[in-house]
């Protein structure tokens, strides 16, 4: 078992006929991901990389057993296609598009919530369970099967740390990118307990960045729910200070959001703090003795 996906997970790809959808479908299939169907309105009847394409999600669901979906649909058409997936009762769904209007994202997430669909994204690079299944853009050569679970906001940072660990022969159970925000379906706080309950994961790496309050919320979850060792890297300590927030933002966030506040909260919760990418390797070796 891994978290969220396994080696026999059946996948539906939305936007499979686009440039990015086509390429990513090919890379996922080469990795062994079982892609059973694709959807692009108006392109029903086509085949992409040997995968049959349908006009509607409901048609694909009728013809195939589908466990999860991933969307490569551009931001301005995302709301409709995402609601179509949720309406079809698919229970896990990755949204890769960045730049979907906030109102659309909130509608998608709230409808998903109502129907019990777990959503990773928007703006997510997806996830990889090395050696089992790849649902998204994680470059296969950067990962190795193993026991470290990685959760990151940024996709690129989750590739970077995967690469760094793999080069030191440290394998991963799953590597999840939740997206850069500011609105999220599954968050660090949702993924951490999944790793805690996953028997293949021994050490958890949480990658965060400046801004928002998610790392502070994750610290609460680590304190109350997680017994496995957690290593955290928060990037952006040397980034220039952002512009002042408006009234509404300032009220919600108070003084939270700086690297200092995140590191303090995480340390207090018992997480080990890595200074940079290589420092994560050192800490893992230290834990494993």
């Amino acid at each position: 078992m891994s978290i969220l996906i396994k080696s026999d997970t059946k996948v539906l790809v939305l936007g499979i006929t686009g440039k990015s959808g086509k390429l990513q479908t090919k890379i996922m299939r080469n990795y062994g991901t079982q892609i059973v169907a694709g959807v692009t309105p108006g392109k029903g009847g086509m085949e992409v990389e040997g995968v049959p394409v349908y006009n509607f999600v409901s048609e694909a669901v009728q013809k195939h057993q589908i466990d999860v979906a991933i969307s490569f649909v551009p931001p301005r058409f995302s709301k409709d296609s995402c609601l179509e997936v949720i309406e079809s009762n698919i229970k896990f769904f990755v949204i890769t598009a960045e730049g979907i209007p906030d109102h659309d994202v909130v509608d998608i997430l709230q409808y998903g919530n109502l129907k019990g669909t777990k959503i990773l994204g928007p703006g997510s690079a997806g996830l990889i369970a090395p050696g089992k299944c790849k649902l998204g853009a994680h470059p296969p050569q950067m990962y190795l099967e193993g026991n470290v679970g990685i959760v990151s906001k940024s996709g690129a940072l989750s590739y970077e740390i995967g690469k760094t660990l793999t080069e030191s022969d440290i394998g991963q159970s799953a590597v999840v990118a939740i997206g850069g925000g500011p609105l999220w379906g599954l968050k660090q706080t949702d993924i951490l307990p999944m790793f805690e309950d996953d028997c293949e994961t021994r050490i958890i790496v949480m990658l965060g960045e400046i801004g928002g309050t998610m790392e502070e919320e994750a610290a609460e979850v680590i304190k109350n729910r997680i017994k496995k060792p957690v290593i955290s890297l928060i990037v952006g300590k040397s980034a220039p200070k952002g512009k002042s927030l408006g009234h509404a933002g300032a009220i919600i966030e108070g003084n939270l959001g700086t690297v200092e506040s995140k590191v303090t909260a995480l340390k207090k919760a018992g997480a080990l703090i890595a200074e940079d990418s290589l420092d994560i390797v050192r800490l893992i070796k230290q834990i494993e003795g």
Partner: protein
């Protein structure tokens, strides 16, 4: 994207939210019809206007021209004052705070209401939790009647139907305009009823594709004030983020997370960053070409570091853009490139064929870029 007070109020008026009557005053404008008492308010996008002296009352005892001149000479947090709003002054019996925005950590819209409004709303929110209420609601259902009744009760609103009309109008604006913030601070109780004394509206630029006429109109209004100086209306198709800083190393990255990690590593190895350019979600050979051009325009740049790790982003396309820039560019600032990820082999081949060296390790590339900048 922030709107000016007068722009927000125009929307309020359209949706039936009561505002004071008034007009816009530009510099060098001949004044007519102005009679005391008037409130003169500097039109700026930054907060803290009241504390910076950007709001003045004219009671008729002074020459209004002097007040206007004072306001136009103000600079509020580096923002010049280029227009005023002259409003009929109202008697305020009570002030509240009201806004609709997103609670980002819960991914829901939220109605925020304060028993007292005014300039210290953040402070009162932190000091006394019973002063400010956060009412989250489902975006598919909208704000529910009982939620408005609850807030009206806490705020001790006398005329519930008047209050409800304002809250629902704010929600309608929030939705119709793809706003990320609709704020009234203060919402004043006057002898004539509730009045929105200020407006703060922020729009989601990601949704500009479905509001093209509105954006054109807003752009024309802002140009009238600033004479095309504000770059608030950049081409939205361009996803590049560019942050100028004060060092001597140019940095291009294809992801915000690795970009931030690289900034930290540069600082660890004692490098100073001149500018930071993140390629954003939609990449192509043209985008990386454009980014390289942008970082090279800074005369202080002594070395350039390009950090690429592609998932969606294709290294063959990145290589194509870098090679094109390298061959066309006349000034040869040392370039350090770390390239890996999707279509890595194809990308590396293009670079080899063009005789451009690349690194595989992020730490190595960072150290080389810092060393070169220190030598030059």
């Amino acid at each position: 994207m922030k709107l000016y007070e007068f722009q927000g109020k125009k929307i309020f008026e359209k949706y039936g939210i009561p505002i004071q009557s008034g007009e816009i005053v530009y510099p060098e404008q001949k004044l007519k019809h102005l009679s005391p008492p008037l409130v003169l308010k500097a039109q700026v996008l930054t907060g803290g206007r009241g504390k910076a002296g950007g709001i003045k009352l004219w009671d008729g005892s002074q020459d209004i021209k002097e007040i206007i001149e004072q306001l136009f000479n103000l600079e509020i947090k580096k923002e010049k004052v280029r227009a005023l709003l002259a409003l009929k002054s109202v008697d305020i019996l009570k002030e509240h705070y009201l806004s609709i925005t997103f609670n980002k950590s819960k991914s829901t819209p939220v109605l925020i209401s304060g028993i007292t409004g005014g300039i210290d709303i953040e402070k009162s929110a932190q000091q006394d939790k019973n002063q400010v209420y956060f009412t989250e609601f489902n975006s598919l259902l909208g704000i529910l009647d009982f939620q408005i009744r609850f807030i009206a009760d806490k705020l001790e609103i006398e005329n519930y139907f008047e209050f409800k009309k304002i809250v629902l109008a704010m929600y309608q604006i929030f939705k119709d305009y793809d706003a990320t913030l609709v704020e009234i601070n203060p919402l004043a109780l006057t002898p004539e009823g509730l009045v929105a004394v200020d407006s703060k509206v922020e729009l989601d630029k990601q949704a500009s594709f479905r509001h093209q006429e509105l954006y054109q109109e807003l752009k024309e209004e802002v140009n009238l004030i600033t004479g095309d100086e504000l770059n608030n209306y950049e081409d939205v198709e361009d996803t590049i983020t560019y942050v100028p800083l004060s060092g001597d190393i140019g940095l291009v990255s294809d992801g915000a997370g690795t970009g931030l990690l690289t900034l930290d590593l540069l600082s660890k190895y004692k490098g100073k960053v001149a500018n930071f350019c993140e390629l954003g979600g939609i990449t192509s050979p043209e985008i990386v070409y454009k980014a390289l051009n942008k970082v090279h325009q800074d005369p202080h740049v002594k070395s350039v570091l390009v950090v690429l790790i592609g998932g969606f982003n294709r290294m063959d396309e990145m290589a194509e853009g870098i090679v094109k820039f390298y061959q066309e560019s006349r000034k040869h600032i040392p370039l350090f490139i770390r390239m890996c990820g999707t279509k890595e082999e194809e990308g590396k081949k293009i670079m080899r064929d063009a005789n451009i060296a690349i690194d595989d390790s992020l730490h190595d590339a960072v150290k080389k870029a810092v060393k070169k900048a220190m030598e030059n």
